[in-house]
Amino acid sequence: METKRIVFVGVGGQGNLLASRLLGEACLSAGIPAVVSEIHGMAQRGGIVESAVVMGASSPIVSTGEADILIGFEPSETLRAFNKCNKNTVVITNIHPLPPFTVAIGQGVYPDIDKALDLIRDNVSLLITLDGDELAAKAGNPLSLNMVMLGALVGSKIIPLDEDILKETISKTTKQAFLESNLKAFDFGVAASKVG
């Protein structure tokens, strides 16, 4: 099959590792060969968390300039990972900012996101933006941001997996108490990326 390299970036606690794992599980169900890479350890104390899903190749990680899809859970982290993109990359990003504590102690300035997103839009094949935190809250669980982002990925139709197979995977792995809100969040994500 054609190789698809998908990079997830976010901040510790946003659940992007679960999102990449679920995507990997869905590939397994659909019979698509895939490898997932994660970074555990130091990075989880509020630091940057990056993961990747590579379909149809052996290497578990994605090099600079080689992402087919970049999924950013936090806008400044999407900017930081922008070097993973090339002119054919599709970028899907949450626009809800989560400034790092370095900003509070005056060790850096949080960037003007709108301006920076314009720059991204001009340099890749497609940029999809959504307020993932708002959609997660609307779905009834602020922690379901990862489901919103997964939904947006599937809704964009750039990977060979459909909504049903992802929903099945989510249903298999989610605790009953969160299932309804997670599926709702997923649907919101699908709808948001369809609108563009």
């Binding site: 555990h40 630091g47 190749a57 052996s58 600079t64 400044s76 790092p100 102690i105 850096g108």
Partner: protein, 618 residues
Amino acid sequence: MHKLLIDSPDEEMLLLGNDAIARGAIEAGIAIATCYPGTPSSEIPDNFFAMFREGGFYFEYSTNEKVALEVAAGAAISGIRSMCTMKHVGMNVASDTLMTLAYLGVNAGMVIINADDPLMFSSQNEQDNRYYARLSGLPMMEPINAQEMKDMTVAAFDLSEQLKLPVVLRTTTRLNHMRGMVKFGQIRQIKSKGFFKKDPFHYVALPAVSRNLHKVLLEKYDQALELSENSEYNQIIGNGKWGIVTNGVSMDYVQDAVKDLEISDEVTILRLGFSYPMPENMIVKFLTNVEKVLVVEELEPVMENDIRSIAQAKEIVVPIKGKEKGLFSRLYEFDPGMVRRTIASYFGVPDTSPKAVDVTGIPDLPGRPPNLCAGCPHRAMYYAIKQVYGPDAVHPSDIGCYTLGILPPLKMADIVICMGASVGTSCGISKATDQKVVSFIGDSTFFHAGIPALINAVHNNHKFTLVILDNGTTAMTGNQPHPGVDTAPMGVDTTQISIESLVRGCGVEHVQVVNPMQIKKGVAAAQASKDFDGISVIISKELCPLYARVIKKAKKVRPFYVNQDKCKQHLDCINLLACPAMYIDDGKTMINEVLCIGCTVCAQVCPENAILPLKKSA
């Protein structure tokens, strides 16, 4: 049932590399597993901990890697299968045992999992532990994906039994933390009782005995070499004129590069999975059929040097390149693009890599380093020490969450080497200078390697203060228990050891135990230690709140908020504590009530009493 215990061969699962190793151990019928945790190896023992009772084997978190290796060795010498897991630097701690254990050998399969960390995602160095195979004479195996991590673990046990030697399975972070498809195999019956057959002239490593044992070890090398020549994990793939030698995760990058560059007809790949001893005959066969060779290996030129010396011995003249300017570096980890580009340039084929976007327009981004969590007791203790000692005291520190105290505004780590070194370096620095020395060590780290150094400090009359940051767990690596932890809540029967008694037992007389969340008490303890002329210890005792939540001991508390009418913008809370729950919005100091765990520390620090608990209704 734990998913890794499912006894249905042919079951397929997406597994983390570390899960796959644990499954391999189950399939191999391990009777004993030991470890000291360490990223990127920790999920292997954490799986064992979650399933050892159900799985019918014995597991322990040992005090350190040396002890872990000895426990596993004792079991394997007594005839039952054992596994010991550690990160690469753990091998340094265990190496004294390792070197002579190789002489003694084992009677049942023993596998040592060694996890290297190129690029140092969470380590203090990126040493290449393939040298340990060469140093000790033990066979080494290196998998390339999740499936092999399981299969090779099973194979390593069989190999170990065949050679009567421990076998080292070496991974790197990318393999430990990748997920891939794994097809299960049969689970072997556990043999859980062994017998120690006395044979002192084999097992007591006196000089006269070891002289003979060393000879035996060299004979085993010859036997291992034969097995390596015929191993399914050593393969020559293809028959092109361009030779590529590779191992571990680099094999994945090489395979993808050859596919992307469409050069599979031009290339011959020598993949070394049973990587020590190196299969000399196979290497000779490979070298004689290619025109030039590129060695693709992360870190040190280990295979490159060995292959070169084989070529020299056999008088084979062929260019062999790897680590040099313009090709590969000895630094950090590789990635698929770098390997593809280097292969393309070395063999002179067009590079098909996509061109990365231009990022010059992207604004400077604020850093997002990992930080002590909101409400972390380490932060509170650091604050108290700083209040008393000011900025000039020297702070040797150690390895754990608390190392993050290096960050401003706390800046509470001045020198860190390896686990336990805080105490020893404090002895040296306090002896060499007139500066005040206050050092920090975590509870797990203290048990692991701090105790002999503390005894040294007492015995040799060193003068400094050691703060033991006792958060009741091994937090950095995922909340594993250690000897100071009561494991009853986890349903496991171990004996808890009191740090205070231990410290007193080491001969320290000035010992204070404080709850760091009570800032005044922390400051008073710091002052008392400063006034004391000699070695003193402060035990800063408060559970890691993340761990407290896991064991359901978290106190129910309300988050705090800043009363803007009272706040006079001293910014002490931000400038001295920098709890990540606090931020400044539009010139106002604010608290994120989702992140705040209501630890009260900032409220104690605020000179205006402007930080208050949120009302219930909020």
